[in-house]
């Protein structure tokens, strides 16, 4: 019998325990499984490796990926290369946090419960909303759940989505909408943002929600207040998906009339990890509190009158309400919510302002620098946060350009032709606080040489 380092069962244990059970072998314990469905032989799976060989194997797989320790990245499009303060990994590596389940036993889960309560508080502060939940899978599913909430709150079935929303988030909204029998209508964009007149044309008395992303997929800052006013005039809810790091300087959507604010907390100290796990956040106005999906932590007192925290408003949830629940979500992204909380704690009031400012400064410098390269121009003139679109010379392939950049140690921008056919030959560049002036200048030089 091969021994395993995570399994303590000795042959003596096995014999003693079988005797108590009254079985002659472990095989006896599986007699209730019909022979017809028993698996015979050894599964054709990857073979076992010892710990050292496994670290070598995984190191080799990892080594074949171009990571941002070795490459300079100008790629964003929903996942961003921000600096992650050292503190975060130390906190989320505390195994009291990461080896715990959902805090169903509050007396021994006050740490996680308080951490979630603080996360909810942080999200409310940033977004300007009354209530936030404990997290969703990611920004895209949070947006889809927001559409679902709006449909149930209004009793309507039409979802109006700006086409400047992340293409994958729109795709996820469409998938959920199919399940819930909702119709999704998209609004065309103008100069990198959405014309409010285009929104007016598609709104009607069946519209449950208007979905807006700001900063949008092109980096552009949408007119949230005008969209909110128009949505409300038509009896619809306004849902805003936002980049939380932009909210250090951009106005809180809650103050601009949003009914639901969602987004992905990845920019807040969460590693890119090929796009997951990240952390969706979900915040609503007071009116929608009892329609929220997911877990919520509330403050209360124990029997001695001492402050404590519990999971609350659970009658919304699947384990109580089953098919009548507001959502099917059970597991969420708690550990990443903790990362985001630690990030916001480290940054604090001034740091959130400063990091947003650095993103604006460096992105605007880069936009000016790249658009001054012969053959390149800034596609849109609308205000933007830390991303912008560049028009490449006629006939230039963004994909080929990126391969050339890669050879020079640079991960280039997002090829917009992949999701907007009319924007073939356009690239979306993201510039975070990590990029230096010399890296930006060098990118301009490299682009110039590659064209």
């Amino acid at each position: 019998m091969k021994l395993h380092r995570y399994i303590p069962m000795t042959p003596q244990n096995e014999a003693d325990m079988l005797a108590v059970v009254g079985a002659s072998s472990i095989e006896d314990l599986f007699k209730d499984i019909p022979a017809a469905v028993r698996y015979q032989g050894t599964l054709p799976m990857s073979e076992m490796l010892d710990e050292y060989a496994l670290t070598r194997h995984m190191g080799q797989l990892a080594g074949r990926n171009a990571d941002t320790d070795r490459y300079t990245s100008f790629l964003g499009a929903g996942i961003y290369d921000h600096h992650v303060p050292s503190v975060i990994n130390h906190v989320i590596s505390r195994s009291e946090f990461y080896t715990a389940y959902t805090p169903y036993q509050p007396e021994i889960s006050q740490g996680e419960l308080q951490a979630i309560f603080e996360f909810q508080s942080y999200i409310c502060e940033l977004t300007g909303m009354a209530v936030a939940n404990a997290s969703m899978y990611d920004g895209a599913t949070a947006l889809a759940e927001a559409a679902s909430l709006a449909a149930s709150a209004t009793g309507r079935t039409k979802i109006v989505a700006f086409s400047t929303i992340h293409p994958e988030a729109r795709a996820v909204v469409r998938s959920y909408a199919r399940g819930l029998n909702l119709e999704v209508v998209e609004v065309a964009y103008g100069d990198g943002v959405t014309d409010i007149s285009a929104l007016a044309e598609v709104l009607d008395d069946q519209t449950a929600a208007v979905l807006v992303q700001s900063p949008n997929f092109f980096g552009g800052i949408e007119g949230i207040r005008a969209a909110a006013d128009l949505a409300h005039e038509n009896g619809a809810l306004l849902v805003v998906s936002t980049n939380p790091i932009s909210l250090g300087l951009l106005e809180a959507p809650g103050k601009l009339g949003a009914d639901i604010v969602v987004g992905d907390a990845q920019p807040l100290g969460i590693s890119m990890s090929l796009g997951g796990p990240t952390c969706g956040f979900f915040a609503v106005s007071q009116a929608q509190m009892r329609r929220m999906p997911g877990r919520i932590v509330g403050q209360t007192k124990d029997r001695d009158g001492k402050r404590g925290f519990v999971l609350t408003l659970q009658t919304r949830e699947q384990h109580i309400r089953r098919d009548k629940a507001t959502s099917n979500i059970c597991s969420n992204q708690a550990l990443l919510a903790l990362s985001a909380s630690v990030y916001m704690s480290i940054m604090g009031k001034q740091g959130m302002i400063d990091v947003a400012d650095l993103n604006i400064q460096k992105a605007h410098y880069a936009a000016q620098k790249l658009s001054s390269v012969a053959g390149l121009k800034l596609t849109f003139q609308s205000p933007f946060f830390n991303e912008f679109v560049i028009t490449l010379p006629e006939g230039t392939s963004a994909a080929e350009l990126n391969l050339k950049l890669l050879e020079q140690g640079v991960i280039g921008g997002y090829d917009l032709g992949l999701s907007y056919p009319e924007l073939s030959g356009h690239m979306l560049f993201a510039v975070t606080e990590k990029r230096t002036k010399s890296e930006i200048d060098q990118l301009a030089t490299q682009l110039e040489a590659s064209l």
């Binding site: 303590p8 698996y39 990571d67 009291e96 796990p277 098919d323 992204q333 704690s345 604090g348």
Partner: protein, 511 residues
Amino acid sequence: MTNETVTTTNTDTPSTATASNELIGAVIKEKALIFELSQPGRVGYSLPECDVPRVETSSVIPQEMLRSEAAALPEVYEVDVIRHYTELSRLNFGVDNGFYPLGSCTMKYNPKINEDVARYAGFAKIHPYQPETSIQGALEMLHTLQNDLAALTGMDAVTLQPAAGAHGEWTGLMMIRAYHEKRGEHRTKVIVPDSSHGTNPASATVAGFQTITIPSNEKGLVDLEALRAAVGPDTAALMLTNPNTLGLFEEQITEIAQVVHEAGGLLYYDGANSNAIMGITRPGDMGFDVVHLNLHKTMSTPHGGGGPGAGPVGVKNKLLPFLPEPVVEKKEDGSYTLRSGSPDSIGRVKAYYGNFGILVRAYTYIRTYGPEGLRRVSECAVLNANYMMHRLKDHYIMPYDNVCKHEFVMSGKGLKQYGVRTLDVAKRLLDFGYHPPTVYFPLNVEECIMIEPTETESKETLDAFIDTMIQIANEAKETPELVINAPYTTVVKRLDEATAARKPVLNCACS
């Protein structure tokens, strides 16, 4: 998962509360919120200099789009942050702290190598939209994991995108819906047993189905007659956990599959309980058409205090066209690619390619054991559960006294005559340093206690826990107040959940 539908009531007298404080011997202070540590002018961050020529923010972004008031975040320095979260962590209980027999949650040990590997820069610091040539190692890992999970479950293909079990359920049901629609059939009903996880009916609703719940028979298994009566031309699927949430294997699984398939429905396998069957039997061989696995249960990835998980979904060939996109494929030249564009795909279920960092951990776990090791995992998990059931059966009521799989349920209703409920037993366990089992689930067992030891616990640990459970049963008879007023040793006592729900305080309202 745990279900506490019971509301804690404050029936104790002030003297009990005082007594419990004396037991500790000290008054424990309330833990401050991070917001309460704030001192104006203090910072915890270090950012790069602005090395580019500055522009006035309001010259590039209109003033009305800019924040009129800074977000009221705390002003603390790095030491505050570390001490705050370290203190919070000490108020939390994880698998590394002790035995965590939470039924249906598979709280096994979370290997440390998995944590190290997921943090390798080549996994943690890569972007989903990098050129495919620059993420070949990641794509190879995903492709291998897809194949390994397909082999383990007996399915033809696997998608790794769903972020959690419930997300996998919904993904699978959306594929089932697309399958029926493609065949021109209008099937609206999903059947679940009364012992099913709450996510099953909830996922059915989100996928646009109505749920029909059928009762279990006296053995705790699917009642074939009830199933036959429930199926019909409107049956889209039966969702089943096997072994079920009572820890019992559905012995008539082939007959069940036949009934559903003959009615034109499909079989959905909720993989929450897969830790019982690895290498022993496979959902694909039992007749299931769609399977999800909870990698945060069976494959040892940490639960993270509630997430992230990962809920890959496997399907049989007939459902291949409906898989969510993109799909990781191996090309003829040996390289890996992300393929999209199948006209019948249900589309995207999540941004990017799933909870990749969790998938890295799961793959590392599979390679730690290999197929024979995984079989040993299930064997030991099942022996541990049966051992506990046998040692406890004289002290608690065992509603289903046959052989169990990786978990078993018992009932605390025998203690009700002393005024002690299952919730009280759970709270008393806290004083002994244990995380309690799942309680009040499944719903079809009165005063239910659901125990899942997992394979990573030793006989000594199991014996000590069993002895404690026996002691608590004795306390319930002899000194019931001792149990009813528990816990005594925790940082907070029983909390007022009723007021928390009636008058919600959901954030610190700092601004």
